[in-house]
């Protein structure tokens, strides 16, 4: 079974928007979007249960996103494709979905997995746009996934409880962060990751443009809210919480 996983590198720690470019500041350290580790884990399990095949990582981002890909390779993915191009910086849903779909078109996997959301964009939407461009069925928010007999079956939560949806392969599936517990890369995995194939593409290799149909016009501070009192537990936290609740007459 050939499974592709769309993964993103996101800035580590506190995130900020650069007031000059009005884009997310990606200059600091980056990490594999933690939600995507669940998608990688699920892909590895599906590959292994099928008794073989390949897990290909697909990503668009700055050149250093290769570090995040290496973490997923260390978990056990087989190879990675990274689209990195100055002209792709600032791409929005329209642009990103076009680029990822172009890579996925070339790869032609039986299953494409996405994580639940990008920790920086918080959109939780990209899979649906990519599925549309690939003209493939999509199942989102999947908390339990079974892939067998050419079909993906997902159990997923909505505002009303749980649905069960089935789609014939090739299909696109986005997984919830509760679907599994991602493995930690082993030392062997980390060493092995360095020699796994990592392909880097520019937009002209794919014959597409990225682009954006949305724009950030202005930035402002969030409305002020009440003070947060913060304390570190030194063994007395429980008593301090009781004191606080007493002050506010909540007991």
């Amino acid at each position: 079974m050939k499974v592709a996983v769309c993964v993103k590198q996101v800035p580590e720690g506190t995130k900020r928007i650069d007031p000059g470019t009005k884009r997310l500041d990606r200059s600091g350290e980056g990490a594999l979007n933690s939600f995507d580790a669940h998608a990688v884990e699920e892909a590895l399990r599906i590959r292994d249960a099928a008794g073989g095949g390949e897990v290909v990582l697909v990503s668009m981002g700055p050149a250093k996103a290769a570090d995040a890909l290496r973490k997923a390779l260390a978990m056990g993915a087989d190879r990675a494709v990274l689209v990195t191009d100055d002209a792709a910086a600032g791409a929005d849903l329209v642009g990103t979905s076009r680029v990822l779909a172009a890579v996925l078109e070339r790869e032609a996997p039986e299953l494409v997995l996405f994580g639940q959301q990008a920790a920086d964009a918080d959109g939780a939407v990209l899979w649906s746009a990519v599925a549309e461009r690939l003209r493939r069925p999509v199942i989102s928010q999947v908390a339990e996934l079974t892939v067998a007999d050419g079909t993906a079956r997902g159990k997923r939560q909505t505002e009303f409880g749980y649905d069960v949806i089935e789609a014939p392969l090739p299909a696109v599936v986005a997984v919830s962060d509760a679907i599994n517990e991602p493995r930690y890369p082993s030392l062997k995995g980390i060493m092995g990751a360095k020699s796994k194939p990592q392909e880097t593409l520019v937009l002209s290799d794919l014959g597409v443009e990225a682009g954006a149909k949305t724009e950030v016009l202005a930035l402002a501070d969030p409305p002020p809210r009440g003070e947060t009192r913060k304390l570190e537990d030194d063994g007395n936290a429980a008593a301090q919480i009781v004191e606080f609740l007493d002050e506010r007459r909540l007991l």
Binding site: V125, S140, A143, E166, A178, V216, K230, I241
Partner: protein
């Protein structure tokens, strides 16, 4: 400007969030505000939308549209937008609406802004407001072309009934092959049983930081000592640790108790939207950078396994 609003429905009711977005659209002052209702046996529902400001409601009523799956809805809305030239399509966030909106964005190559908490005309242009990066910054967003698509954050507005009537227009139903490939095998229906979290003065909620389903007893004991109810995050509900009826957040319940104690909860936006109206929020989390510390009143950095049992004991003593 001409606005089309996606009117989601469930169990024969138009959803409150969608009607609220429709009311908001009507308040922007444009006479050409329409809704679209898609499903099987939904004609009667469509008329309801007139009361909330729709001058026109497109109805796609077809057996093949019975299951609330997104891709067929993209087909229907895309042809309405093309045939009738709507320049703006608005959605209230939901699992279904997000997938429809993003699919439509790709189909029409249209810009989609999400998580909006407001929308206004500024100097002739449409401008959305959205909190970003865990609500640490407020961003004004726009569109560089038409149609403009937007998803509103759940719970942002309330519906405002103005009492008009809408003209019903049949929408054409021509489905793409890939849009019909996914099949609903079992469809969720609102589970009414379970605790009434909306009435509770105190809620103690547990997240993945509890480490396992067995540790929910820590949360239950504390809730009992405080005379409160127990809540949960989607991560633990999806993992089967706790029932769906206790879930708080975007796809769960919205609550506003006097006191909310979050144990081992990171504070994702989708959780926050369901509990930010609480009077006092106390968070216990071992990660000093957890987003929940940005919007709680008392933030305790520490291990809940050490703190919560002690807290329960002290509260018991205190309340006798």
């Amino acid at each position: 400007m001409s606005i089309l609003v996606f009117l989601e429905h469930h169990d024969d009711e138009l959803q409150k969030g969608a009607l609220a977005v429709l009311s908001k659209a009507a308040q922007l002052g444009d006479p050409d505000v329409a809704g679209v209702v898609i499903g099987a046996g939904v004609r009667a529902l469509a008329g309801e939308a007139g009361k909330f400001g729709a001058a026109k409601v497109f109805v796609a009523d077809d057996e093949s549209l019975g299951a609330p799956l997104p891709q067929q809805r993209v087909d229907v809305i895309a042809s309405i937008v093309r045939d009738h030239g709507y320049d703006t399509v608005l959605f209230a966030a939901s699992v279904l609406a997000a997938d429809v909106a993003a699919g439509l964005a790709a189909r029409l190559d249209a810009g989609l802004n999400w998580d909006l908490v407001d929308l206004a005309q500024q100097d002739g242009a449409l401008v959305g407001k959205r909190p970003a990066l865990g609500d640490t910054v407020f961003v004004d967003v726009g569109w560089t072309g038409e149609p403009r698509l937007a998803l509103f954050r759940s719970g942002t507005f309330d519906p405002a009934a103005t009492g008009g009537t809408a003209e019903l227009v049949d929408a054409s139903v021509q489905l793409e092959e890939h849009s019909q490939a996914a099949k609903m095998i079992e469809q969720a229906h609102a589970e009414s049983e379970g605790p009434d979290l909306a009435e509770a003065d105190v809620i103690v909620a547990g997240g993945r930081g509890l480490g396992g389903p067995e540790n929910f007893t820590l949360v239950e004991e504390l809730a009992k000592a405080l005379g409160g109810a127990v809540g949960a995050t989607r991560a633990v509900v999806d993992a089967g640790w706790y029932p769906y009826s206790t879930q708080i957040g975007q796809t769960g319940k919205s609550v506003a108790p006097k006191l909310y104690i979050a144990c081992g909860i990171s504070g994702a936006i989708q959780h926050k939207v369901g509990m930010q109206g609480s009077g006092t929020i106390v968070a216990i989390n071992k990660d000093p950078n957890a987003p929940i510390f940005e919007f709680c009143d008392l933030g305790v950095v520490g291990d809940l396994h050490a703190i919560v049992p002690k807290l329960t004991e002290l509260v018991r003593e205190r309340r006798g």
